[in-house]
């Protein structure tokens, strides 16, 4: 009977462990599935807001228009139709609220019953018009021509250089500046954090005595526990003005400020992992090196560092992983201007900052919402790639040993 209970308890615990494992993996798979399902939807949509149409005069030779041109037309950067391959008429912009400039309230009607007819007549009478209005005011026998807008293409999304997700009539969804901004800031962060982190971990594992070490290690690990918004605020108040003065820049919110803040945030990861790796160097190897007459410093860079190189690399890569996904701190210090950065001393916008700042206000299920999920997918793939590299690097070590 006792053994039965024992066996039963064992089976029960085993089952529980398996269950929690399954639940965790299932959750991850579900989240990834959800992310990609929403994200891929962006390529199924037109950049013009749902329920709206863009129409022109029927004599206008244009049938189709590119999203970028629509934006430039409505920003009055393109003012004549011949610039986009039409007649030499000058462009007349029309939005729904402009209707009162053309027609009286009586013609439009109290409940807008006459509105559809008014728009139809207006588009017919002005050869240079481009009209942007809700589809429900599209008259049954509309006398103008409704322009066709292509769905968002892969190249437009990935190679586009303008990020105006809420632009009307046509959203601009170029993620190039965001991807470059993310990589730029993370690269800067790792260039700053790696030498510093490596130096600190060598000091702690090889040079410092036990007392110093017992104070330093918890202190550094404490860095990891500070909320990221605190880092962000610290960056905004201290680092940003410092950069502005040092480099004599018009703005202090730059990629460099982001890199410094992220560098500090990545330090604990890098130091802890590489220090552990270095302390794992067998005592015999170090003693052999010293016995051969090598100095302490020679031993460090000829024996300890090469032996623990895979641990150091893993620390560095995990550090980048943290830097790439970090949101709040970056949001506060990089200025978030969606332009392709030419140097680290310019404002940049990163992917996580974009998602965090915009998702709350984007209409759920809309184009902007899906575009933000697509950004999430890109970020996921970047992080996945980084994690796979960690696996590869740490996996290599085991082969070396035997």
């Amino acid at each position: 009977m006792k053994t039965f209970y024992k066996k039963f308890a064992e089976k029960f615990i085993e089952g529980l462990l398996m269950l929690s494992g399954t639940v965790t993996s299932l959750t991850v798979v579900l989240i990834v599935f959800f992310l990609f399902k929403e994200g891929v939807g962006v390529f199924n949509q037109k950049p013009v807001e749902d329920g709206y149409v863009i129409a022109v005069n029927k004599n206008n030779p244009l049938d189709k228009v590119v999203s970028e041109d629509i934006k430039n037309i409505y920003d009055q950067k393109i003012t004549h139709w011949n610039e986009v391959g039409g007649n030499p008429d000058s462009i007349i912009l029309f939005r729904l609220e402009d209707i009162s400039n053309y027609y009286s309230d009586e013609a439009i009607g109290e409940n807008f019953e006459g509105l559809a007819g008014c728009i139809s007549r207006l588009t017919d009478s002005l050869p240079g018009i481009i009209a942007f209005f809700p589809e429900k005011y599209l008259d049954k026998n509309f006398k103008g021509k409704v322009l066709d807008v292509d769905k968002i293409s892969l190249s437009e999304f990935f190679m586009g250089e303008e990020w105006f997700p809420t632009a009307q009539p046509s959203a601009q969804l170029g993620v190039m500046p965001l991807i470059l901004g993310t990589l730029w800031v993370s690269l800067g962060a790792i260039l700053l954090a790696l030498p510093l982190g490596l130096a600190a971990s060598i000091y702690m594992s090889e040079i410092a005595n036990d007392r110093v070490r017992s104070i330093m290690k918890p202190l550094i690990e404490l860095l990891a526990g500070i909320p990221s918004v605190v880092y962000g605020f610290f960056g905004l108040v201290i680092i940003v003005p410092l950069i502005q003065e040092t480099f004599n820049l018009p703005v202090g919110e730059t990629g460099l400020a982001g890199s410094i803040v992220l560098g500090i945030m990545a330090l604990p990861t890098i130091i802890t992992i590489s220090e552990d790796a270095m302390r794992n160097t067998p005592r015999a190897m170090k003693e052999a090196s010293l016995a051969l007459g090598a100095s302490k410093w020679q031993t460090i860079y000829k024996v300890v560092v090469p032996y623990s190189i895979s641990g150091i690399t893993a620390g560095a890569i995990l550090g980048i992983g943290r830097a790439i996904g970090e949101t709040m701190a970056v949001l506060m210090v990089t200025g978030n201007a969606a332009v392709i950065p030419h140097s680290i001393l310019e404002p940049v916008r990163t992917i996580p900052a974009t998602i965090a700042a915009e998702l709350g206000e984007a209409p759920a299920g809309g184009l902007h919402y899906k575009a933000l999920f697509a950004l999430g997918c890109i970020l996921f793939l970047i992080t996945l790639f980084i994690n796979l590299s960690v696996e590869f690097v740490t996996g290599r070590k085991k082969h070396n040993k035997h």
């Binding site: 409505y74 920003d75 009055q76 201007a337 700042a357 209409p363 759920a364 919402y369």
Partner: protein, 272 residues
């Protein structure tokens, strides 16, 4: 015993369901709604109002899903959101509960103290790049704006930029506090914030909407008598089916007491 419990639970459920109201949405309206809810609950002990933020888009999406009774919004409902409600067979009602005036702020060291709407448009769309073009020092202009999806961003674009897009070099900040901080420490900076946030570290400038004839400084007085032009309404949206349930709270917000709170929080009360 069991039936008693069920009855009790049912009674609890119906009483709370009768009075509980959920508000969700815009972070701009959030502090105001919270204050209103607190004092409303003080007056009506039985009532229960819970307020959560998240953004105008989140609030309106929750209205479609039916997870909130009132959506707070700092922008007008979008056509796509309206159509979604229509598809779900719901019709939405809109109430303006207060106004929010936006002040254009610059660094205190800046000589410029007044700008026309046209000049503001030039600065925010990137046509005017140096302060000397608008009568200031030879200094590059650094433009700070709110995030693309905030209601403030949209409003400023519609009313000041004449519906043109911001320049892509505009720096966007996650919060009003961050704009104040940045403008106060960057010499060539310009940005916009809610009237309630203007403080001594930044300088609010006068704005002209009649091509430079009259310049009006942003203040509670000029906002109230509507002479200050950069002012936007804040909304509550609710389904017409729950109108009866939410009406007492909305009436309270619109009452003299409620409008007094509006002014205390720093927004502009509705004029009678």
């Amino acid at each position: 015993m069991k039936t008693k419990l069920v009855v009790l639970a049912f009674a609890l459920y119906t009483t709370t369901a009768g009075f509980a109201q959920k508000l969700k949405g815009s972070d701009t309206v959030l502090p105001l709604a919270q204050k209103e809810a607190e004092s409303y609950m003080k007056q009506n002990k039985a009532a229960k109002v819970t307020v959560t933020g998240g953004g105008s888009g989140v609030g309106l999406a929750a209205l479609v899903d039916g997870t909130t009774d009132i959506a707070m919004s700092s922008r007008k409902i979008k056509m796509a959101e309206k159509m979604k409600l229509q598809d779900a067979g719901k019709s939405v009602k809109e109430t303006t509960i207060a106004y929010d005036a936006l002040a254009v702020v610059v660094n205190p060291s800046n000589k410029v103290s007044q700008l026309t709407r046209e000049q503001l448009e030039g600065i925010f769309t990137g046509k005017i790049k140096n302060w000397k073009e608008v009568g200031g020092d030879d200094l590059q202009i650094t433009v700070y704006s709110r995030e693309t999806s905030s209601g403030t961003y949209e409003f400023f674009k519609e009313h000041v930029l004449n519906n043109k897009n911001y320049a892509s070099t505009v720096l966007s900040m996650p919060a009003t506090g961050a704009i104040i901080q940045s403008v106060s420490q960057t010499k060539g900076a310009i940005g916009y914030v809610g009237l309630a946030y203007v403080e001594k570290d930044v300088k609010a400038i006068k704005v002209s909407y009649d091509k430079g004839k009259t310049y009006i400084a942003p203040s509670m007085a000029t906002a109230k008598d509507k002479t200050y032009p950069v002012i936007r309404p804040l909304y509550y949206y609710y389904l017409s089916t729950v109108e009866k349930a939410v009406k007492p709270f909305i009436d309270y917000v619109l009452s003299a007491d409620g409008q007094k709170i509006v002014e205390e929080v720093g927004y502009v009360p509705l004029s009678k």
